[in-house]
Subunit: 225 residues, 2 copies
């Protein structure tokens, strides 16, 4: 999953559920910290439950998580939220608008207290210029996220909650590299709902149905497939 880099991730102190939650959508474990520091990246702190930037803001900086967890999220008019993704240690987020100096399509929210590297747009582009391997690595991660979004769009468009849920679980299972081994979903049903654009109640009911059909099993409320 790290695609070549061995960053000092030290996930030992993170509870298992979070590791799994992070597994999928860990999509851009991008730039070695040494390189960021060499370019002059600053380290900043984002408190839990606060926003780093809001949907619509102009993108000026590259951000990469040192430790913590960020939720990229859209809020529609009636307050409902749609989660574009979660990002954790070593991952970057919110880079797409950097390239054309445009605005963020979603807000960045501190799901946990988070420490981040912050690098100006110019220095970021410079870093890519001077480092083909990092650039390629970055593009690769972007491409992966792209495919995730393509998959989700297809699923979301053909609304059938059960199908959506299964595809989603299979995707994160694959990401987790669990192989054939039973895979435990560590997301809450609410989190799945926000990622899939479905109400919690519907998730709960659909999951139960899927369990009855034998497509997955529920043990101690956890979803296993």
């Amino acid at each position: 999953m790290n695609g070549g880099f061995s960053l000092p991730l030290s996930k030992d102190d993170i509870p298992p559920s979070d590791v799994i939650l992070g597994k999928f959508l860990i999509i851009a474990n991008v730039i070695p910290e040494a390189l960021l520091e060499a370019q002059g990246a600053k380290i900043i702190s984002l408190p839990k439950d606060s926003f780093l930037f809001m949907e619509g803001d102009m993108a000026q900086h590259y951000y990469q998580i040192k430790t913590g967890k960020i939720k990229m999220v859209n809020h529609n008019d009636d307050g409902k939220e749609f989660v574009q993704g979660y990002f954790e240690d070593g991952q970057s987020f919110g880079e797409p608008p950097l390239f054309k100096a445009s605005h963020y399509p979603a807000s960045a929210f501190g799901f946990k207290a988070t420490e981040l590297y912050k690098l100006s747009r110019e220095k970021f582009l410079n870093l890519l210029r001077e480092n083909f391997e990092v650039h390629l690595q970055f593009t690769t991660k972007l491409a992966q996220r792209m495919m995730y979004k393509a998959m989700m769009m297809k699923e979301i468009s053909s609304h059938d909650p059960e199908h959506r849920i299964l595809s989603f679980i299979d995707y994160i299972k694959k990401e987790s590299q669990a192989g054939d081994k039973p895979f435990t979903v560590s997301l809450t049903r609410q989190q799945m709902a926000d990622l899939l654009g479905i109400r919690v109640e519907t998730i709960i009911r659909s999951v139960k149905n899927l369990a009855e059909k034998g497509e997955l099993s529920i043990v101690a409320r956890k979803i296993i497939r």
Copy 2:
């Protein structure tokens, strides 16, 4: 929209509607043809109404359209289709799975008879390696498509057909760089339906509603905003 390159696009023989249709989702006018040829790209022909590759196939080649039009599309079990995007002259498509040697998340369909450059994965990556500007250009286009998908996911998830339609039209209007000038949507209602994951009838009714509300106007069945 071309972002720096002036490719010999010669769109003169393409009717206006197609130019406009192509305007949006023209997102990766990527590699100068001279470079492709230098790397040894072959030119192949894809007949109208045929598939170049299918969802699930392993990605082995980089494709860039010389002339014609490609539709990237998913088919769900009951035959309904979801269109990920249209691509035209000068654009590339289906590149994300190239980076990790994985399979296509959607099928490529000849919306018109199309001539394409075809380049092996290795040579494509090589080309990026040797050409920072092209690589950056490519990443930029990928980032743009990414943002389009993020926007669409958010819209699709918060189902309100009218809202979705307006956001979509505003997006393609912006892409077309029409500014404040009235913008005529050149997509059929069916095409909009397939791009938005809504039924045609719903599009028709919603558009009519929006016209009554004054959000847009319909002239000779064409949607103007």
